[in-house]
């Protein structure tokens, strides 16, 4: 008898569990399945607004959302298609990023994924390829995904990690009076202990061989708020230059510790993720005179930023809590990321029609994303970034870099836009991509239609 009673309890329990499961499913499916009256293009955002990298997350995703908002309000969307988005918090953690991907991937009309985390991007490569939706890793990502012949859906737009490295080494060359003068010099690379930080280890080794300098690469464990021992090592090594390949809180700590251990700031060069206001302001005096590379310029003087202030912030719809952060490096990078996403959609619409596009159609748009300086100026972004020229087998798009110096109050550009040494890097990228294709049994594409 009591066995029967137990069965009853068990049945009840399983019924409850099932209802729960179904509710969870219903929630996933309850996403806007609206009728066709209003066409929408959806941007799932794996953002991070808490945790050690919140400064980067709030700035970047703030800028991205502000630009999407601007397009909706000012232009009524792209070709009449409204842009929509939803956020999921990842805290820069891979497993949370994956959960958000699984949560949002069934929404209709996904344009592209923009996780802003190399770790999450790696975890998504197989998933987006299977789901045929582009994955954009602006200024970061896995370098060999530049080869679109192998990585059809992955776009390390603007500047990939190798291009950035080449730009930094070229800059150091100009500081010593020519690349040939780098021979015999010693460079220390202080990198963030994450997939992002490690990405450039081989290319520094290679460039060191090519130009005859010695390189010592030192890891700072994530998140990097303690670097005493690393900087003591640096002091012993007596390098000519230190390249700071940091992220988040690691950067101000590095600058302050450098000052404490007596390493001059004018011999430190920041990489593309060590170049924001959030990296230098907390370091105070220690950051004065610090130079870093960038692919996007800071400031609010560009027409597109003025439009955002007028149309979005003055209407109380701005995403940044602190209006002072408008025009900072992370915010502007988010805006540029918005421009690249939106223009890819626009280009794809010209071919496929003004409607909600599939991920694969947006991929086609990205592979034809060619914005020359004139088009960039027409978008109100002259000087904000240089240009981009993506093709089906070059998913980076040959972005230009520039160097900026912190004067204690703001960044000042101290160089022209410079082209990295793409010819030197491409064979290495192709070799790595082909090895990946072989390992994974991927058919190498021969044209955009493959």
């Amino acid at each position: 008898m009591s066995f029967v009673r137990h069965l009853k309890t068990a049945a009840l329990a399983s019924a409850i569990a099932l209802t729960g499961l179904q509710a969870a499913q219903a929630q996933t499916a309850a996403a806007p399945a609206k009728p066709a009256q209003q066409q929408e293009q959806f941007f799932p955002l794996q953002s991070y607004r808490v945790g050690p990298y919140a400064a980067g997350g709030t700035g970047f995703f703030g800028g991205f959302i502000d630009y999407l908002n601007l397009i909706n309000t000012r232009d009524g969307g792209v070709g009449g298609v409204k842009l929509t988005w939803a956020e999921g918090e990842t805290q820069y953690e891979v497993e949370r990023g994956v959960e958000v991907y699984e949560r949002l991937k069934n929404r209709p009309g996904i344009a592209a994924w923009n996780p802003l985390s190399v770790g999450i991007a790696y975890a998504l490569i197989d998933r987006v390829t299977a789901d045929k939706v582009p994955l954009i890793t602006i200024n970061h990502g896995r370098t060999d995904t530049t080869d679109g012949a192998v990585f059809k859906y992955i776009f390390p737009l603007l500047v990939n990690p190798y291009s950035e490295t080449s730009g930094i080494v070229n800059y150091l060359g100009t500081k010593v009076g020519g690349l040939d003068k780098l021979k015999g010099k010693k460079i220390v690379v202080l990198y963030h202990g994450s997939p992002y930080g490690k990405e450039t280890i081989p290319i520094y080794e290679l460039l060191a061989q090519k130009y005859g300098f010695t390189v010592q690469q030192i890891e700072v464990p994530h998140p990097g708020n303690e670097q005493q021992s690393q900087w003591l090592t640096i002091r012993r090594a007596k390098p000519d230059f230190v390249v700071l390949r940091g992220w988040g809180v690691m950067n101000p700590v590095a600058l302050k510790t450098a000052q404490k251990t007596g390493f001059p700031v004018d011999r430190i060069v920041g990489n593309i993720w060590s170049n924001s206001e959030e990296d230098v302001i907390p370091a105070g005096d220690a950051a004065k005179g610090y130079v870093a590379i960038g692919s996007v310029a800071p400031g609010t003087q560009y027409p597109v930023l003025q439009d955002i202030i007028k149309t979005v912030y003055d209407a109380g719809k701005g995403n940044l809590e602190d209006r002072k952060r408008i025009g900072t490096v992370y915010h502007n990078l988010g805006v540029v990321n918005g421009i690249l996403n939106v223009e890819a959609v626009r280009i794809a619409q010209a071919k496929f029609g003004k409607r909600t596009l599939t991920g694969d159609e947006v991929r086609w748009g990205l592979e034809n994303l060619k914005l020359d300086e004139a088009r960039v100026a027409a978008l109100g972004a002259k000087g904000l970034f240089h240009s981009i020229n993506v093709s089906w087998d070059n998913h980076e798009g040959e972005g230009y870099v520039a160097f900026q110096q912190w004067d204690g109050k703001q960044w000042k550009q101290v160089s022209d836009w410079i082209a990295p040494d793409w010819k030197l890097l491409r064979p290495i990228i192709d070799k790595s991509a082909l090895a990946y294709a072989k390992e994974k049994n991927i058919k190498v594409r021969k044209s955009i239609d493959d």
Binding site: F3, H6, A10, G88
Partner: protein, 353 residues
């Protein structure tokens, strides 16, 4: 009813006529039969698979901490050893079947576990916990330092091999779920069996009073090392599930101290020395934050940004854990038993206990 009360002291909450095998069989029948029919891809890929992997890790740690009484903070390290070893075996031994690679990953974790279990022969309690921290830091350091472990991938990230056993590919969300479920079911059954053998009783004897155990002839040293070995094997396999089946990409940072704490909290909240507790605890730690986050963004998403919501969820989760542990310090498993007992015995025996 008197007989019932007597027997209940043996298996609390289970009267005589409810056979011991019935609950697991029922759960498995539901998990194999019903869940694949009703669950969506999201439920498989984002809820059930990480739940299963962490449950298995908690089962492993429960063997060590709950049954044998050895506090360990190195679980994430053993998971990492498992997945990296399985990856390297698969990569470097041509034609090695997936299941063999997974088992070898578990064996590698066992070896590392035994080495780091050696201090347990001298240290107890918190001192042992601190020495297992060494495993945590050493393994993560070694995996980062030596590129060989990640096949010299510049980022230190490895890609999981495709899941296929004897030509059958488990490449759909439901397939991956069934794969994980089968591994978890088999290993949990083995662990359950071990706890009922004399060895399992040795574990408990060592936990409850080491000196007394020694006096009555329990081989304490061997028992402790065996606990470390078995536990590390199970945790290592859980690591493989986490890396190969759930994330399908692995980086050493994913197995940091936070993960070790997470697994320890699972067994404390779920209930020490119960297998059921490992699953209940994992459900709470894995699923509940997601549920809260979905609920939060659904109800309040329009008014607050995701950062504020995230912090509120942490507060809510923390408060809930405190609440649970006040209601039942022996964990969710004990709470569950009390609930079942109350539901099923009313009105006759509710006051009889």
């Amino acid at each position: 009813m008197a007989t019932n009360t007597v027997q209940r002291s043996g298996h609390p909450g289970h009267p005589a006529r409810w056979p011991l095998w019935a609950t697991p069989v029922l759960v498995l029948a539901l998990a194999y039969g019903l869940v694949p029919l009703v669950a969506s891809d999201y439920v498989f890929d984002a809820l059930l698979i990480p739940f299963l992997a962490l449950s298995l890790a908690a089962v492993g740690l429960n063997l060590l901490t709950g049954y044998a009484g050895q506090l360990s903070l190195g679980s994430a390290a053993f998971m990492a050893v498992g997945v990296y070893a399985a990856y390297n075996f698969q990569l470097r031994v041509q034609g090695l079947p997936l299941l063999a690679a997974i088992a070898l990953g578990g064996v590698a974790a066992t070896l590392v576990g035994v080495v780091f279990g050696l201090p347990s022969l001298r240290l107890r309690g918190f001192y042992l916990a601190v020495s297992t921290l060494a495993a945590q830091f050493f393994v993560q350091w070694a995996l980062t330092k030596f590129g060989w472990f990640s096949n010299d991938n510049p980022s230190g990230v490895i890609d999981a091999p495709p899941l296929a056993v004897a030509g059958v590919a488990f490449d759909t969300p439901a397939g991956r779920y069934l794969f994980a479920l089968s591994v978890v079911a088999v290993l949990t059954a083995l662990v359950w069996r071990v706890t009922r053998t004399p060895t399992g009783h040795h574990f408990i004897a060592v936990r409850d009073n080491e000196l007394a155990a020694r006096v009555i002839g329990v081989p304490v040293l061997r028992t402790k090392l065996l606990a470390f070995a078995l536990s590390s094997f199970v945790i290592g396999v859980a690591g493989v599930l986490w890396g190969f089946v759930y994330l399908r990409t692995v980086e050493p940072a994913g197995f940091n101290l936070d993960r070790s704490f997470q697994i320890l909290f699972i067994i404390i909240i779920g209930g020490l020395a119960t297998l059921r507790g490992a699953f209940l605890g994992a459900a709470l730690i894995v699923l509940f934050p997601l549920l809260l986050s979905r609920l939060g963004s659904l109800l309040l998403g329009q008014w607050f940004d995701s950062g504020v919501l995230e912090l509120c969820q942490r507060i809510a989760l923390g408060a809930l854990i405190v609440g649970f542990l006040i209601a039942e310090p022996r964990g969710l498993a004990a709470l569950w038993e009390r609930l079942v007992a109350r539901c099923c015995r009313r009105p006759a025996a509710a006051h009889g206990a």
